[in-house]
């Protein structure tokens, strides 16, 4: 089943005496069940706006969206979602246990279910030691744990996490990363926004990239970074300076390796083959040869600089209709 479908979802903020701000324009997106989907974009690109629309915090100016086939404007859609905002804020005077109890009550859980929920969630997020301490004195990492715990209350099939790794130390980031993967293994769908591209690359199946409120790219990471021309890196030793000087425009870049030898980057595999022959002919030794693929960060930077990538064909209206059926 499709977890998230958006069709022409748009949000424009209007305020008196100011020009309208188009925060999100015509977003067409599908996220399949049990998928880990990374939602990327610079600050102000519209990521949080999209998340707020999906969680019912703000209302769309145009378009529609459904979560597991239920329109986002109904409270029933939010039964499917566990949401962790960027920098989760809770009532400071409550303890983690009281906080989980409160949200479990909002989800209509019985006393018995609430007790069971606390037992499971506190064990998973290691909250028992801080169960009865007020949130007021908590560190960022501890708050993030409580935030994740709140998102898990009621065992929703979809987790929407807004910058879950923002401001965390490496251990905190690792914890969140592992939790996301653990949740995926339990069959949940995870939709999360992030600036930490290395984490996204590591845990996401697909990503969507927003540029100025518009979806500029959406596909599997391998498909996105595979679209660009690859270069080839060759490491060799035993080459004299005259050989290097004669390479001229044949190589994209050249540098001497600290551990000895040279690192040469050529345009493509054809140029690499030719260079290998020349290295052998000059009496040099080939140490390594491997293709250099574009990283998600390179792709992200390139797309921000205006290189518009064609969107894969997504049949959104049909998908939405199917989800509603």
């Amino acid at each position: 089943m499709t977890a998230i479908v958006t069709e022409g979802l748009s949000k424009t903020y209007k305020s008196l005496g100011k020009a309208p701000v188009h925060s999100l324009s015509d977003l067409n997106l599908t996220v399949e069940e049990n998928e880990v989907f990374g939602f990327l974009g610079r600050n102000g690109a519209g990521k949080t706006t999209t998340i707020k629309l999906l969680t019912g915090l703000i209302h769309p100016t145009a378009g529609r969206a459904a979560l597991f086939g239920t329109d986002i404007i109904t409270p029933d859609a939010r039964r499917m979602v566990g949401y962790m905002p960027e920098q989760p804020y809770f009532y400071e005077y409550l303890t983690p246990r009281e906080t989980i109890e409160f949200y479990a009550r909002l989800r209509g859980l019985t006393a018995e279910e609430r007790e069971r929920e606390w037992e499971q969630i506190s064990a998973l997020l290691d909250l028992r030691d801080i169960a009865n301490r007020r949130i007021r004195g908590f560190s960022k990492g501890m708050r993030q744990r409580v935030g994740f715990a709140v998102a898990l209350v009621g065992d929703p099939p979809l987790l929407i996490l807004d910058e879950p790794m923002s401001g965390l130390d490496p251990l905190g980031r690792r914890m969140i990363r592992e939790l996301i993967l653990q949740m995926r293994d339990r069959g949940k769908t995870i939709f999360f926004s992030s600036h930490v591209l290395s984490d996204v690359e590591e845990i996401c199946a697909r990503v969507g990239i927003l540029v100025s409120g518009k979806l500029a790219a959406c596909d599997r990471i391998s498909a996105l970074v595979g679209d660009v021309a690859k270069s080839v890196e060759i490491c060799a030793r035993g080459l004299d300076s005259a050989f290097i000087a004669n390479l001229g425009g044949q190589v994209i870049s050249h540098e001497e390796r600290k551990e000895g030898g040279h690192r040469l980057v050529v345009q493509d595999t054809e140029a690499a083959n030719q260079l290998v022959v020349e290295i052998n002919r000059a009496g040099g030794t080939l140490l390594s040869l491997h293709p250099v693929q574009e990283s998600l960060e390179d792709f992200f930077t390139r797309i921000q600089e205006g290189a518009q990538v064609a969107l894969p064909e997504e049949k959104q209206p049909a998908a939405l209709a199917a989800a509603e059926e």
């Binding site: 915090l57 409270p75 905002p85 989760p88 804020y89 005077y93 409160f102 909002l106 989800r107 709140v150």
Partner: protein, 254 residues
């Protein structure tokens, strides 16, 4: 209903931990005990004066609790972003507004009960008698405060806490003098001023409807019919204000 109660209980707990509440209750108790001073200077009328001041203290300090806590109740949730995770739960926005309202009304109820306890104990100690009309007066004060709280909640969903508090305070003051808008001197006849002031008369609740202070102080009985009418009037206004508050919050982006 479970969700409304959950929000209400949480609001109650939040207010209990709010220092403003204790400061106001302290001053209310101080005023009740201080009424003896005025009793001394009004020869032979000390019990009447004490009763009068006790009820006035309940009315004024209860209103201050409603205004200061109520005017920031919803706004604070938006400002501190605690609302994000709450509204992302499967609850209707009206459930949140009603929960916040009921939580604060419960706090005011507890404050009134405390002040009533202090007043009754003090009056008993001073040798004064407490009759039915005294409790009828307190019931109507509570109704008035519930109405004022509804105003505060409505404004809390629309404007900043300071602006909200100022507006509710103005409504509280003018609400005790709405007859002035209706019973204008003859020179106002056929003027636009009369029409404008008459509109104000209908836009602002007549808070004097809930005022049985003088009857309670003088032990003048009040009919059950009047008390019922005043309660119905207060409930109608409160319901209308809460509906408006729910509608205002329903369409709001947070």
């Amino acid at each position: 209903m479970t969700r409304i109660i959950a929000v209400a209980e949480n609001t109650f707990r939040e207010s209990i931990r709010d220092k403003v509440l204790y400061v106001l209750l302290f001053f209310a108790a101080a005023t009740i005990f201080g009424s003896k001073i005025l009793g001394w200077i009004s020869i032979g009328q000390d019990i009447k004066i004490i009763k009068d001041i006790c009820l006035a203290a309940m009315s004024v300090f209860g209103a201050l609790i409603a205004i200061f806590i109520g005017a920031s109740l919803v706004y604070k949730e938006i400002d501190k972003k605690t609302l994000y995770t709450i509204l992302a739960q499967p609850l209707h926005r009206y459930e949140f507004v009603l929960g916040k309202y009921l939580g604060l009304v419960a706090i005011i109820g507890v404050a009134i009960v405390l002040m009533t306890g202090i007043s009754v104990g003090y009056l008993y100690f001073m040798g004064g008698a407490v009759t039915l009309v005294w409790f009828q007066a307190i019931l109507l004060i509570f109704m008035k405060l519930a109405l004022i709280t509804a105003f505060a909640i409505l404004l809390s969903a629309l404007v900043s806490p300071i602006m909200g508090a100022i507006i509710v305070f103005c409504i509280y003051v003018t609400g005790h003098a709405t007859e002035v808008f209706k019973d204008l001197p003859p020179q106002f006849d056929d003027t636009i001023s009369r029409q404008v002031l008459e509109i104000f008369y209908y836009l602002i609740p007549n808070l004097n409807t809930f005022n049985l202070q003088s009857e309670a102080a003088n032990n003048v009985p009040v009919t059950g019919a009047y008390v019922s009418f005043a309660l119905a009037y207060g409930l109608a206004w409160t319901a209308m204000l809460l509906i408006l508050a729910c509608l205002a919050f329903e369409g709001r982006d947070v």
